[in-house]
Symmetry: C2
Subunit: 205 residues, 2 copies
Amino acid sequence: MENKSTEEKIFDAAYREFVEKGYEGARMQAIADRVGINKALLNYYYRTKDKLFDAVVPRIITQLPIGINNILEKDNPFEQKIEEIVHLYIGFLKKNPLIVRFVLRELLNGPDRLAKIFVEVIEHKDNNLIARLTELIEKEVQAGNIIPIKPEQLIINIISLCVFPFIGRFMVENIILKNAGTNFDEFMKDREKEVVDFILNAIKP
Amino acid sequence: MENKSTEEKIFDAAYREFVEKGYEGARMQAIADRVGINKALLNYYYRTKDKLFDAVVPRIITQLPIGINNILEKDNPFEQKIEEIVHLYIGFLKKNPLIVRFVLRELLNGPDRLAKIFVEVIEHKDNNLIARLTELIEKEVQAGNIIPIKPEQLIINIISLCVFPFIGRFMVENIILKNAGTNFDEFMKDREKEVVDFILNAIKP
DNA sequence: GTCTATAATGTGATAGAC
DNA sequence: GTCTATCACATTATAGAC
């Protein structure tokens, strides 16, 4: 696999450096070192740190499991859709903690740098997911299958329950689990089922 | 109020600078400018940026509503305790978005800088809160007042539902609420009641 | 205590040889 | 394309006069 072009090698190295350190923390020198070249070559291929960052970001963001349309497509009962969404999210977060941290950190530092591309990616991949999910929930409410709840609240509840433990991992480990006789991985393993039950219980009429 | 010592003025200015920009983003020059002095004086009172940061951080972190012991002390029914905790958390987050962002950003950049003091603060203010909350939940489960649920899962569910919308505010605003005909403030106003209902429903036997 | 001036370092960007 | 050398700038830290 040594036939990668220098440009690709730089891209890959930059990808890792930015994901690990964030824009501010990333160092051009460190990227050059990862490739085994010097900084001047970075400038030759990508003119500036900003441009290199902009080149890498889409590759990072498009990995987010935003497009869960396939789950909605399938003709499964509502409960099962919820379950699949939860598993998809938590599964992704388990496998990609660095990406989650990266996105969050950049958004916190000021969404400006990510905002534009973020919205682009969503509108491209998302394909009105939220609108369709909203519609689905409203239908279930009207049919009396679940309690009356505003779709946007339910959607955010689902995301909150899946995502927060990874964001607040430090606190979860050092405060809540400290004396619980379990570790983070075990806790998260339990949690997949736990969250599904919690949600389904909460919306059961 | 002009009788503050220079040292106090520096402390206050540093507090604001660090909270707004984070450790990496904060500039010693900016702090000096806020006070109306020059950088050399910062060095006179606090030797380095690190030491100034360490001096300020406890003041920031101790504001977190970790010690919710008073809520547990009161002899209210379990449901009401949940409700009060949710209101306390969301109320705090509404009033102190910058503090939340600060803590989160520093934890994401690597908990090392905050970790030690964070744990200290918790152990001092927290006073076995989690242990007591855990005990309380276990008692409710055994009494059959709520469904069987692991205390640590329930605790994190509560925190998740309160905190996440503020963390993911950008996404909430730009994705979920985009076409919902509402804004973040309205959404969060609704949410206080919504979250309480959601939780109580979820744990109802 | 407070200032001016400057050192010391780190980082991104560029010039120019090969 | 790739390198060495260097610039330009920002930022923290410090020396020394008052």
